[in-house]
Amino acid sequence: MSKKLLLANAHVPGIRTYEVYRREGGYRSVEKALKMKPEEIVEEVKKSGLRGRGGAGFPTGLKWSFIAKPEGVPRHLVVNADESEPGTFKDRYLMEYIPHYLIEGMIVSSFALGSNVSYIYIRGEYAWITNILEEAIDEAKQNGWLGKNIQGSGFDCEIYVQRGAGAYICGEETALIESLEGKRGNPRIKPPFPAVKGVWERPTVVNNVETIAAVVPIINEGGEAYAQIGIGKSTGTKLISACGNINKPGVYEIDMTISVEEFIYSDEYCGGIPNGKKLKACIPGGSSVPILPANLLLTTAKGEKRLMNYESLSDGGFATGTMMGSGGFEVLDEDQCIVKHTYTLARFYRHESCGQCSPCREGTGWMEKILKKIETGKGEMKDIDLLWDIQRKIEGNTICPLGDAAAWPVAAAIRHFRDEFEWHILNPEKCLTENFGLRHYADAIHVPVA
């Protein structure tokens, strides 16, 4: 069984309230942190090997160490709770059921970064979670964990929750900052990076909800102890939100040593695929990461068991691997149509492109239209090459990573499932009523049954 840190007390009745959370050991990390020097906290986070849990996987301690400290200029911590990557619903779970975990992590992190006013930018649709967080903030304040001179330390800290209003792009940190300033979510050109000029041109650190929550066990147990969990550069635990064709969709905390096969088929996690269906494909890290066919998902090109961690999931690069991403894990069974699924993702990215950069604004629209054409039996063979060409021209040619995020799912679908696209085009009528199924796989390849 995986070690649990963030969700260890998730099932304690009343854990949402301050009283129960505190009784179960909550806010200990704040007591400890306030007796440390801010630099010592940053050092512990560096030692822990914690990597950003929003998708990019950038080392958190390193990110913190970049924050500029010009004399007399306030600094800010902004928590990215704009969770919008299809397949991802892990931050929601943490905030909804254990809101104090995030607040606790934010107080410690704010102290480490010297942020006296910190913000949670939450996606607008999570309206009821905004209320839960605001209640938790009030409780924390009433008990002396927020406000002036916290626990007699001399450190002042306020936390405010800002609701977005429906824009995936605001999960990108500079778009989020623009939005927090009351503007359209158009990503900024970097440099300057937020660590130098962020919100209101002040040094700013933007971190994902889960990242900030992970600071709590790091301070409680020490960075080295945290780094002992996991393998290599995949230290600590990771929240995975699992969805699609599985028996037990939900949010799971894993230590990053388990295999993908165990995650899908074990009763502790996804519990296998319903109705005796076979695994066809999986998008393991949110819709932006490359989709993998079952054979490459479970085993790397080298023939090793693929594990649920940063290194193993990306083993083989994009040719035969994928990415850990946000941990939004979507399983597709043999009845799912890759063309249709890719079309819905292309539509998503077209809808969410901010429109600043032409390759993304125009390219996402083209990809959506061509995929719809193929999906509805009107495709031509040349369309597949056209799609490939468009995605290649978007990737790397935009201000922010949304362009790449839109290009990769299309590229991976063609790379691994080209035969299914061709079948759609060659069978314009059949493709409307029938599925391509598992014809990708030669009989020799082992595809497990539940």
Binding site: P74, E83, S84, E85, P86, G87, T88, F89, R92, V117, Y119, R123, G124, E125, Y126, A127, W128, Y160, Q162, R163, G164, A165, G166, A167, Y168, S179, L180, E181, G182, K183, R184, G185, W200, S241, A242, C243, G244, N245, P249, G250, V251, I283, S287, G328, E330, L332, Q336, K340, H341, T344, L345, R347, F348, H351, E352, C354
Partner: protein
């Protein structure tokens, strides 16, 4: 003349106080939410102009934001707004059938409002409920694991509220 009541004005002031002096424009998104909730579920031009005056910014600064974010309605919507997610994970779990069923049941297409002004149906992109699909947003709540029976019950619930 559009105007918030005293309580709403107090709320606006409270929101503005979260940001540094002179950065009241940061309050725009939360104040637009408040305005939409207070003035009939959508943002008419006079409402946006009023918000601009409250925050001492130009009306265009409000329009460009209101038109960017999908949660702000720039046209009137029905009393009850159903926003059904249609992205990959919801598609896999049968959102198309749910959308078709609501269309049939309310006799409207996606993007339309019933003649009595009661219901509007929209499709939306991923709302972060992928493990509980298919789903829709109704008001400030998520309705998850949708079935035709659940859709019936939600529609009944709306009708009961309006009676």
């Amino acid at each position: 003349m559009v105007s918030f009541n005293e309580q709403q004005i107090a709320k606006v002031k409270q929101i503005i106080a979260r940001y540094p002096e002179g950065k009241q424009k940061s309050a725009l998104l939360p104040v637009l939410h408040l305005a939409q909730d207070s003035f009939g579920g959508w943002l008419d031009v006079p409402v946006m102009d009023y918000v601009a005056s409250l925050l001492s910014i130009e009306p265009i600064e409000v329009y460009e934001v209101a038109s960017f974010y999908s949660m702000y309605n720039l046209k009137p919507v029905g009393k009850h707004l159903f926003e059904v997610c249609q992205t990959g994970p919801c598609m896999v779990k049968g959102c198309d059938d749910i959308i078709d069923y609501i269309k049939l049941k309310l006799n409207i297409n996606v993007g339309e409002t019933t003649a009595d002004g009661m219901f509007t149906l929209k499709t939306v992109e991923c709302l972060g409920a992928c493990g509980y699909a298919p789903m829709m947003q109704y008001g400030k709540t998520y309705r998850e694991h949708l079935t035709k029976e659940k859709v019936d019950a939600i529609i009944e619930e709306c009708r009961a509220k309006s009676n």
